[in-house]
Every structure is written in structure tokens, then in C-alpha cells.
Symmetry: C2
Subunit: 493 residues, 2 copies
Amino acid sequence: MSAYDRLTARFARIGALGEAAGMLHWDASAMMPPGGGAARGEQLAALAGLRHDLLVSPEVSLDLGEATAPGAWEDANLALMRHAHLRATALPTALVEAVERANSACEKVWRNAKASADFAMVRPHLAEVVRLQREVAQGLGEALRMAPYDALMDGYQRGVTAADVEPVFDAYESWLAEALPRAEAIQARRGAALPLPGPFPVAAQRDLCRAMAQVVGLDFNHARLDESLHPFCGGTPTDVRITTFYDEANVAKALLGVLHETGHAMYERGLPEAFARQPVGEAAGMAAHESQSLIVEMQACRSDAFLDFLGTRLQASFGGDPAPYAAANLGKLWRRVERGFIRVDADEMTYPAHVILRFRLERAMIEGRLEVAELPEAWNAGLQKSLGITPPNDALGCLQDIHWHDGAFGYFPSYTLGAMAAAQLMAALRRAEPELDAQLARGEMARMMGWLRGHVHSQGARLGLQDLLRAATGKPLDPADFTAHLTARYLTD
Amino acid sequence: MSAYDRLTARFARIGALGEAAGMLHWDASAMMPPGGGAARGEQLAALAGLRHDLLVSPEVSLDLGEATAPGAWEDANLALMRHAHLRATALPTALVEAVERANSACEKVWRNAKASADFAMVRPHLAEVVRLQREVAQGLGEALRMAPYDALMDGYQRGVTAADVEPVFDAYESWLAEALPRAEAIQARRGAALPLPGPFPVAAQRDLCRAMAQVVGLDFNHARLDESLHPFCGGTPTDVRITTFYDEANVAKALLGVLHETGHAMYERGLPEAFARQPVGEAAGMAAHESQSLIVEMQACRSDAFLDFLGTRLQASFGGDPAPYAAANLGKLWRRVERGFIRVDADEMTYPAHVILRFRLERAMIEGRLEVAELPEAWNAGLQKSLGITPPNDALGCLQDIHWHDGAFGYFPSYTLGAMAAAQLMAALRRAEPELDAQLARGEMARMMGWLRGHVHSQGARLGLQDLLRAATGKPLDPADFTAHLTARYLTD
């Protein structure tokens, strides 16, 4: 057995344990009775511990030193193994354990702090989390030869740095300052939307969501659609589990949510089977993943063409007056621009402002240019500058997201990198498929999904984000396609 | 850290991996889309492989040599760890792999052989399985200082030997020869049962099954009831997963099946929490487990008293003429004695005859007194002797069960040991609870389940079967309580 073969056997085991953990996470959210939580924690901890043990073993180090790859894919696989081993061994166990303790303590206090809009309550805990994340970033950065903040970003999305992101985000911010008031004025001129009648019985919503996931291309021989409080896409590439949450008063929540999760699911389904449970067979990262949910939900399914198709299906499912289901009205309802305090409720035009704010603040915290005590003020000033609004309290400001309070630094950019990558991929796809809108208007997505499978899904983790975009679209990350998309959708009367 | 503490930490990990595998098995039967099968196989194989690696490690051997237990439970735990390590290390890897290959190959061929009632098709495969099981039994027997067949039985139920079982089975067979014709005559005199009207809509069956599981005492904060082709009880002690299969034409199938699985579930729920994920915190074995499903389903829930309660609930659920739901009529329907070819369809009186036949044949095969080629003839002669019927073909004879064709030898006795243990426990329980029938007639099972929790569930795997029965009932396995139960139910006019 060659060193490379020993490594693939070991990583197949690590991958299988990861798949098992993925299934147990899904079960915990969608199926598990409340009393199963403690035991589930033990099961997941055992799986995580064994994966770590398998990854950091000295044998891996020896085999990595010796292994040669028989081809380009195998070479990329080997590089990813080396990368994973480096990340897993870069930090002393004492630091990793301190991080876990601090994150867990902070996250618990944060829930109460957010509920009572009291930043002071969580401040010392968050300060400890940040102090440790600085150490983590330093340690990972040295091992990976990256800047500290880049090493944290790398944990969520390989192949893109803060230096890549910064000019892109700056350009977007400048564009938005000018575009947002114009979009608001146009929106005001267009007038109010007709509300959808409702109520929308859960059984009919479930059938419609399932049918729309199939329209996107999801094969339920390899997928399930269930319910959970927080919708997500989990499971494994041959057995994808998406969830949603039905609200009888609001059909958009589940329907657009399922289309979003189906985009994620299609990515998993299209990953290269020949490298299942190998590092190179995984998705390319969080931004890449978000690009696939957003190209389906935001680019394709909220387009005029698809809304035309979707309105007919909605009317068929729920009956009543057809007028509110006209594409133009659905567009007014589901493509509404609004300056708000809450990121997760934001529209696609203002969403990046929320992300850019967080990117700057978290980077400053990791690089020691911002202290946790200064966070609320910096947050409020930043939001005032970009959206012209100031949160009335920290629950609507710097306490709103779990991420930092659970130790996740470097994740936020992925959302907007995903949105921009989605627009960039869509522009390339439209060049290859000039008839795309006609297809979408008929609910035909096979050619679109085929293009994505070829250019993104089937590439696995072979390429980092910038290289993936270069190969698929001919250029690295470029906000121009995203602003062009927004211009067409929101700035054209 | 003491050697004992190192061992408990390791076995906790092994236990957590076992729980994870249990959940994934449940998911595979109740939830998984068909396309997930191959990946699930990889996940389960990885978990099994890691559990084995953790169990056979030389460190376990060293710690077992050094460890001392701080109390009686810990001492039993240590003995079970030693036992598990011995079983896992007794056989050479080459033999274990040969067994897996042979079982898997034979099981596949058996499906076709059974479908075409062609024993010759599977004969060479089964001969190879038996040849290897003889080696396994030999190897395990030497390591455990047991007779070869006993070492196989030990894999399913500790603490009972073929020498214990043989006189019990012989006595039952003699009793049955005389009792069966009498039971048939009495049954004939009682006349035919009124059929239950039906159909029984699935939603109403589901509600009733859930309610009846709660009557037995199942807490759905720690349990789920779902559907699968082959009903079973899986999951973990704080998160039990039972399944059933609804047939709108036949309510008994799901209802009595759920009561059976709930008996298993209550055993899991009552296992000692202080030893969760430790060997001594597990159930005492397959016969002990079957005793708990059968004491609920057969002893309690098919009693006249409980059928009275159940009939009222059935009528409330499904309406129509109340006459078929009278306890006496339900008794005629659900306690019908009948000589048949198929074990899984057998009533409680003839079921042991099927098991005794298999016990004798499999023991003879393992001990080299019977060759596979002679099996069909020996089977047919045995069934003719005990039940007076001869299978018209091998699909209704020696091809009916998967067990041997999948390498499971020593399992069959557990079914009847469980039925007898259930009767023996019920007799002791009735001495402690003279008002039991009045409680059952009101659908009250709390005192019954409390007694079982104290005498069986909370004992975990501390005792082998014979010792468990001695502690709970004052005597080792004794078929007299079982035949007394059958006499009262089937031989009393």
C-alpha cells in the first residue's frame, strides 16, 4: 500500500465519521425527541474526538512526507489533506480546549444578553473569546503562512484573502451609497404590492415546496424534505436532508427557503462521486456553497421569468384571486429593498452592508485595532454610515448574531462573497445559455443546473474560491456582475 | 487516572459510537431515501471498524490486567469489559473476514433460493457458513472456556448454556404433545370469532398505537414512533425509536406490534443511567430483551383484563358494532392456536416447537453431528414429530429464516427463553401485585412497569440470564410458569 493509498483510506474513515455526524446533526434538528439531547452530545463528541485523533496522528505526518499523487485530482486531494493536518496540529491542545470552554460559556450568556439587550452582560465573555481567537489566528497564520485574519477566513472558505475582499467590499459600499436612494425612489413610484390572500395550509405548502425542489432538479431518491426550527441543508451527497419551517400566514418563508436550501442540496448532489469522503470531494467552501443557494433562490427563482411560472403554481395550490400571483406583484413582495437593523431579514441590496460592517469590525478585533468594549459604538457608527440608521439598542445591533459569541470569526464575508459569486456565475451562465429566461418561465432548470454541475459542483474542493471563479467565469471575484444584476432588478424603471 | 477510569473512558467512547450506529440503523430503516444506502454502509463500517479497534487495542489488555473495581457494579462492568475484549480478540482477523464474506455471499443467494424454494441453490454457501461457524465456535469456546455452541449462544445471551436449555426444551416438548390437541379441541368448541369490521384508517391507528404505548408507560419526550417495513425497537436509552407497519385491513398487526416494541423500549428506558454507554449499563441480552417485549405484549396486553380495556379503546377509535370488540372475541382473534409452517406467524403455544427444532439442528451442525446436506430432511422430520405437519417445500421449511444464512447460530433459543422468562417474571409479579388484573382492566400499568424496572431494567447487564431470573423470581429458568400460563389461557374451558 502506498503512502497516498494509506492516506486516502484514513481520510475515507474520517469522511465517513463526518457523514455520520452530519446525519446525527440533522436528526437532532428534525427528528430527535427533546430527551435525547444529552446522549446526542456524547455521540457527537465521540465522533469529533475520533476524527481529530485520526487527523493529527503522527502516521499522517509521515505519510504526507512520503506520498506522491498519481494525478491532478489526487494532487489536489493530497494538498487538502496536508492543509487539514496542518490546521489540526497547528494549535496546542490547551488552547483548543480553552477556546471550546470560552465559546460555550459566551454563547450561553449571549442568549440572555441578547434577550435583555444588555451588551455589558456578555462583554467580558466576548473579550475572552476574542483574546483566544487572536491566539488562534496567530497560531494558524504561522502554520499556514497566512495573515492571522486570513487564516480564520481560510477555515470557512479557502482561496480568498482579506486583501481580495477589501477592494470588492469598498467598491460595493460606494456603489450602494448612490444606488440605494435611487432604488427606494423607484420602489416608491411603483406603488404597494397586493398581499397574498392566505392562509396557506401546511400540507399544500409541503407539496408545493417538494414540487419546486424537483423543478430545480432535486431527486428525492437521494434527498428528504423535513421540518426544523432553523432551516438548513445537511446530510451527505447521496442522501441530502433539507429542512424548512411552515408558517400558514406566510408562504414565502418556506417556499423561498426551500428553493435556497435546494441550491445547497444540488451542490452536494453534484460533488464528484469518485472522491466521495475525500477532502477534494467536498464542497469548495462556505462562500461557494452560498453562491449555489443564492444563484437558485435569488438569481433564478426571484427573476421575473421564474416568478411568472411560480405564480401560476402558487395560484394552482392555494386558489383565490389570481391578481396577487402575477409576477410583477410577487416581485414587489419578494424583492423589496429596505434599510433595516437585522442582517437575516435584509434584502439582497442592503445585505452586503451588514456583512461589510461585520467584516471590518471582526478583522479589526482580530488584528488588535478594536477592543470588545468599543464594539457597540463602532457598530452603530458603521451602520449609520452605510445605511443611515442607528440601532435603538444592542439587541438590534451588535448582539443580533450568534457568530462571534460562539467564536466564529472570518465566516461573515462568505455570505456576500456567495451573493457576488452567484451573480458572476449567473452572468457567465447567461452568456452560455441565452435562452435562460425562456426556460425559467417554463420552470425548466435542467440546462442551468447542468452548467452549474459542470462548472462548480463536479469540481469539488479542487480549487479555492478565486480559482474556481476564474475557471468558471474567466475572472476572479468581481462585484460588477452583482451590481449589474441589482441595477437591472432595482434601478430600472 | 486509574486503569479502571481509563477503561471506562474508552468504553464510553465505544458505547457512544455504538449509539451513533444505532441511530443510523434506525434512520436507514425509517427515514433514509433509497439512494443513501451505499454511503450509509460506509458510515456503519467505519463506526464498526473503530469500535473494534478501540476494543482490541493492547492498551485495553494492559489496563484489564491492572484494573481494580471500586464496587460491585464496577466489578461487573470490568468483567463485561474483559469478556468483550476476549470475544473481540479470540479470533484471527483472517477468520473474521472470511466469516463476513461467507455470510454476505450466502445471505444474497438465500434470498433467491427462498423465493424459488430451492435449497440446493444455497447449500454450498450455507455449508461454507457452517464450516466457518464451527471454527468461530471452537475459537471463542477456547478463549471463553465454554463449549463451542455455548460460546455462540453467549454472543446473544450471556449466562445460560445449552445444558440449561436442553431439559427445559425437552420438558416443553413433552407437555406440548399432550396439550396441543386439547387446546385445539377447546378452541373448536368455543366457536369462530367475529371479524373486526375495518378498514382502520392509518391516522387513527397511529393515534391509538401512540396512546397505547403511553399506557404502557412510554414517555415521548424520550421516544419516537415511526414506520418501517420490519418493525423494531432501536435508538438509545434516552431516545428510543420504535417502528411499526400499518395495514388498513388489520389493526392487530400494528397495535400488538407496537405493544411488543414498547416492551423493548421500556427496558431500554429503564437501564441504569449511571452506567450509560458502559457494558454493565446495557440490557442483559436478547432473551432478557424478548422477555420484556413478551411480558407486555403476550402476558399483560393479551390478558382478558387488558383486552377488556383495549376493546373499549378500539371501539372508540374505529366505531361501529361493539360486539367484535368484546374481550372474549378479541381473545378468540388474537390468541388462536394453529399448527403452521412459519415461525414468525406462530402463536405462543406452538412457537417454542419452531425454536426447539432450530436449536437442536443448529447445535448439531455446530457440533458436527449434522451436515448441511442433511438439513431439509432433518427439518421436515423434526416438524412432523413436534407439530405433526411436513412443509410442502423448503421455502416453508429450512429456508424460511434469514438467521443461519447470515451466520447467526445460537440466536434462536433467545425467543423461547424470552417467552418462558416472561411467564416466570409475570408469575412473580402477580405474587407481588395480587390486584394486577384489576389494574390491567383499567389500563393501569404503572405498578407492573415499576416492578419490572426494579427487578429487570435497572439491573442492566449486571447479571446473566439465570442469575437475573434467580434474583427476580427466586429460581433459575423454569418452564412451569410458562406451561401454567398456557394452561390457564388455552386449556381451561
